[in-house]
């Protein structure tokens, strides 16, 4: 009998080992997937008990804070947004019942103080309660207010970026929404016909029109296909890809230098330059600027969309399109240009920073409750788009646009501005316009790049978008003093 009893003990040991193995399976190996299981409400309930960190503007203004309710173990926190709608698109929201968006989503782990197993043991030993880190953004309050005031309720977008660092100082999309109303009116906001949840700076594509000529010019100058003083026939109309193309208002410029062609936004010249550059090279330069992929922004992926050439407004195409018409920011049936305002701001920023495109960044640093900086987001090079000389030539050409060309309304007192206007014609009968202005300033040492667009309106980029850019740049660069 004894042999069997010993064998039985072996069997029980084995069975108990299976129990420990399965317990390890749930506690360790599959713990993460269980925590992410949608039926698991524990993480939500736990997070409700954790005071999320503050979200702050660059000057310390509180954009989001957690408010406690109840006492002891039942104390829970909900989010309030003291600045209302102005920062709603970059900051987003976070509510247990409605989920998250924006920085609230992208920086959720930092905001909730989510720690790995080892770190949470250490904080357990120090008997620290779990608490979130503060997130300090690069967002500028005065610039944001100027952008909101400039758009004045018209649907549109303003993005301002520091060229040397990639810091996003302004991200305004109108209409905005009041994040404080999310718990009570989520359905209404979500079904709003004006699409107020849509972040028009990163999530909506517009035809860029002539602001895209900066990209075409970059490819042409950088590859040596043309120089600023190359003379090109600017007569109108000209046949491009088998169909006549006209300048704005049918104006005939005759033989004209490349610089003057940018100053006056001559379509026929840029279409020819586009054909000289070729679709392959143009696409290559577009990719250097970040086209054909989501912006490399610290922002949720579902709130961004790639810019590029699209067929039927759906499929991205990299060849076989009407390169002459794409070169002037339009396109044809085989593929037309669609860009986000963020992408055009990055184009301006790359030129401003001597061709070096920095990754755009909404957040500057994460700060612990005791004031220690937990993590700082350092400037990061995204791409060397063009040679420094090309950037210098383009800067000089773009400065002329603001001094004597289509963009004079963007000029600042005492600060030289380089820019480019655009006016795409949209709507079934081309009855609306999509005015654009991209710019950077000061010309000698650019500290700010900007893109402004207004959705389906009337009027020119130079008269509608440039004044908005001007007021935002004034707010960001400190009036006329510079």
């Amino acid at each position: 009998m004894n042999r069997q009893i010993v064998q039985l003990f072996g069997l029980f040991t084995l069975l108990f080992a299976v129990l420990v193995i399965f317990t390890s399976r749930w506690t360790v190996f599959e713990a993460d997937s269980l925590a992410d299981n949608p039926a698991n409400r524990r993480p939500l309930i736990e997070e409700q008990k954790v005071p999320r960190g503050l979200i702050l503007a660059s000057n310390g203004t509180v954009l989001a804070r957690s408010q406690g309710e109840g006492r002891g173990e039942n104390r829970t926190y909900t989010r309030t947004y003291p600045t209302g709608g102005a920062f709603s698109h970059p900051v987003g929201y976070s509510f247990i019942t409605n989920g998250r968006r924006g920085i609230e989503l992208y920086r959720n782990d930092e905001l909730t103080g989510d720690e790995d197993e080892f770190a949470s043991i250490l904080s357990g030993l120090e008997s620290r309660d779990r608490e979130g880190n503060d997130v300090v953004t690069n967002l500028d309050v005065a610039g944001t207010e100027a952008a909101v005031a400039g758009l004045a309720g018209r649907k549109g977008a303003v993005v301002a970026i520091e060229p040397q660092t990639g810091k996003v100082r302004v991200m305004v999309s109108i209409p905005e929404y009041d994040p404080n109303l999310i718990p009570s009116q989520f359905g209404r906001i979500n079904n709003d016909p004006n699409k107020s949840f849509l972040n028009r700076t990163t999530q909506e594509l517009y035809q860029p029109g002539s602001v895209f000529k900066v990209v075409t010019a970059t490819a042409a100058l950088d590859t040596g296909k043309v120089a600023p003083d190359t003379v090109i026939d600017g007569s109108s109309p000209r046949t491009i890809s088998g169909a006549p193309l006209e300048n704005s208002g049918g104006e005939d410029f005759g033989a004209i230098s490349f610089t003057d062609a940018l100053t006056n936004s001559v379509n026929t010249v840029f279409a020819q330059v586009g054909e000289r550059v070729g679709a392959g090279t143009l696409v290559e330069y577009m990719k250097r600027f970040g086209f054909f992929e989501d912006p490399q922004l610290d922002y949720p992926g579902f709130q961004m969309i790639p810019s590029g050439v699209r067929r039927n407004g759906v499929d991205y195409v990299e060849s076989d399109f009407d390169v002459g018409r794409v070169a002037i920011g339009q396109g044809g049936a085989e593929g037309a240009l669609d860009t986000t305002p963020m992408q055009m701001a990055l184009v301006a920023a790359a030129v401003a920073n001597k061709g070096r495109l920095m990754k755009p960044r909404l957040v500057d640093r994460m700060v612990q409750k005791d004031g220690r900086v937990k993590e700082r987001i350092e400037p990061d090079l995204q791409a060397e788009v063009m040679k420094p000389e090309t950037a210098e030539q383009l800067t000089a050409m773009m400065a002329r646009v603001v001094e004597e060309g289509t963009g004079t309304a963007g000029a600042l007192a005492g600060i030289r501005v380089a820019g480019k206007t655009g006016t795409a014609e949209v709507g079934a009968n081309r009855e609306f316009t999509q005015p654009w202005f991209i710019a950077f300033a000061p010309v000698d040492n650019p500290r700010m790049a900007i893109a402004v667009t207004v959705e389906r309106t009337t009027g020119q980029g130079g008269t509608v978008a440039a004044p908005i850019a001007k007021s935002v740049l004034e707010a960001l660069l400190g009036g006329g003093a510079g």
Partner: protein
């Protein structure tokens, strides 16, 4: 150091454990540790010392580790239940005292466990009767689809907990007598024509079964194991008339599935039975026949009893949409709670037990899912510690069986220990999704009067067997 002194010293860390556990929970609740925790610890220690003195007086040679181990488990149980609901913990503490009383009464009444053999048929009949009471109209109570409890007034009572003791006593006695004659190995090997016939028939039948009924892999394996085991039993000249009571036990396990509708207790009984059968006969073939008959029967019944089938389905996929909020909710929440515990747990008193608003997030946290609460609070390490404590207890129980000199003592100690071990496996395996989740208690830890009292009696019987075995060994001058 004498065995009893070792036992006394073993109780000290147990009391410290209980005091520390209460301290941790009170600390998270009130942020300052009151004297209450020391009171709890001292009270627990006092009770255990009383029981220890009783053991010292009545069964002085009994194993010195089993009682402190059981006390440690009961202490952990009290701490966890206190964590879930202070009122339940107060009741459980009362039941612990009642359990200790039954422990002492058992030791007083059963001076020599061999007297139990005399009443084995009475005990068997009473046990079967106990099992069937919950189906009686009026006092039977259905809990979560299973008929495991009876209700008299406000007191709920789970007769299966006591029936398991009776059935083990009966089987130990019956198998002591018949173990050697159930099967008798042939002295000469069979002539090879007979050999071919003996092994050929199961092979042909298995292939036929697969071909005719289109059995799946599991079914084919089950059939093959059954037929070949059966052939092996036949080879060993079985004694059919002695199989009667054993078939009765199989029928009883099936009946339990039908009547009580609880896969867990059925598995526990039948597992204990198979363990005893193996130890008594040393024949794996018998285990092969028995276990395939059980699994076959259980499979057939699970197809036909909605409650059992539901348990099996949720075990296979608790997260299926539509299931996870209903039938699968308990198991899914158990796994979520364990995932939340991680390697080291959230700490005593820190795990999330309530939804905002006060509803419980873990159904039956204090009984079925108490292991999940432990994993949540003490993590994988705490859980491994608990399983380790059970393994030590099982080890000491089987050591007792090894050291006993007569067959009945060996089988009794093996059966009692085995049924305890299988019960641990059934409930912890259910909570960790090794097997379908059923409603048996975690011995000594779960809330429940019947459970703690029955397991205290089980412990008392083990100590009695141990006392006899070790005192005899001491008289003979052998090593203990």
């Amino acid at each position: 150091m004498s065995a009893r002194t070792r036992e006394l010293f073993g109780l000290l860390p147990v009391s410290l454990l209980v005091a520390a556990g209460f301290a941790a929970i009170l600390a998270t609740r009130t942020e300052n540790v009151s004297d209450a925790t020391l009171t709890y610890g001292a009270f627990f220690l006092g009770l255990c010392v009383l029981a220890h003195l009783f053991i010292r007086a009545r069964v002085p040679d009994a194993d010195p580790y089993m009682f402190p181990l059981a006390a440690a488990l009961a202490g952990i149980g009290l701490v966890l239940i206190y964590r879930i609901d202070a009122e339940l913990a107060r009741e459980q503490a009362q039941w612990f005292v009642v359990g200790l009383a039954f422990f002492c009464i058992t030791i007083l009444l059963v001076e020599d466990h061999h007297v139990l053999e005399r009443y084995r048929y009475l005990i068997a009949a009473a046990s079967i009767g106990l099992l069937l009471i919950p189906r009686l109209p009026g006092i039977g109570a259905q809990v979560n689809g299973a008929y495991l409890a009876i209700k008299v007034g406000s007191i709920q009572f789970q007769p299966a907990e006591f029936a398991k003791l009776g059935i083990i006593i009966f089987l130990a006695s019956y198998l002591r007598e018949t173990g050697d004659i159930l099967v008798r190995p042939r002295l000469r090997p069979l002539p090879y024509q007979r050999q071919i016939l003996l092994w050929g028939i199961p092979a042909v039948l298995t292939l036929l079964g697969v071909a005719l009924f289109g059995l799946g892999l599991a079914g084919s394996v089950l059939l093959a194991v059954f037929l070949f085991s059966f052939a092996a039993v036949v080879r060993d000249r079985p004694s059919p008339k002695h199989f009667g009571p054993l078939l009765l036990v199989w029928g009883l396990a099936m009946l339990m599935l039908i009547l009580i509708r609880d896969l867990g207790s059925s598995l526990m009984f039948f597992g204990g039975f198979l363990a005893l059968l193996y130890v008594a006969t040393g024949r794996l073939s018998l285990i092969g026949v028995g276990s395939t008959m059980f699994f076959g029967g259980a499979f057939f019944l699970s197809q036909n009893i909605a409650h059992v089938q539901e348990r099996v389905d949720t075990w296979l996929d608790p997260f299926k949409p539509g299931v996870v909020d209903k039938e699968g909710y308990q198991l899914a929440q158990s796994l979520f709670a364990q995932a939340d515990g991680g390697l080291f747990g959230q700490g005593f008193g820190q795990a999330l037990l309530e939804l905002p608003g006060g509803a419980s997030i873990l159904p039956a946290a204090h009984t079925d899912l108490i292991y999940a609460v432990l994993v949540n609070e003490a993590g994988l390490f705490g859980a491994a510690g608990l399983i380790g404590a059970y393994l030590l207890l099982v080890y000491r129980g089987l050591r007792t069986a090894l050291s006993a000199s007569d067959g009945f003592s060996k089988l009794l100690a093996t059966g009692l220990t085995g049924v305890l071990a299988i019960q641990v496996f059934v409930i912890v395996g259910g909570v960790t999704r090794v097997i379908p989740l059923t409603g048996v208690t975690l011995p000594f830890v779960s809330y429940g009067g019947s459970s703690i009292v029955a397991n205290m009696v089980l412990l008392a019987l083990l100590l009695i067997v141990s006392d006899h075995a070790r005192s005899e060994a001491r008289r003979r001058g052998g090593l203990v």
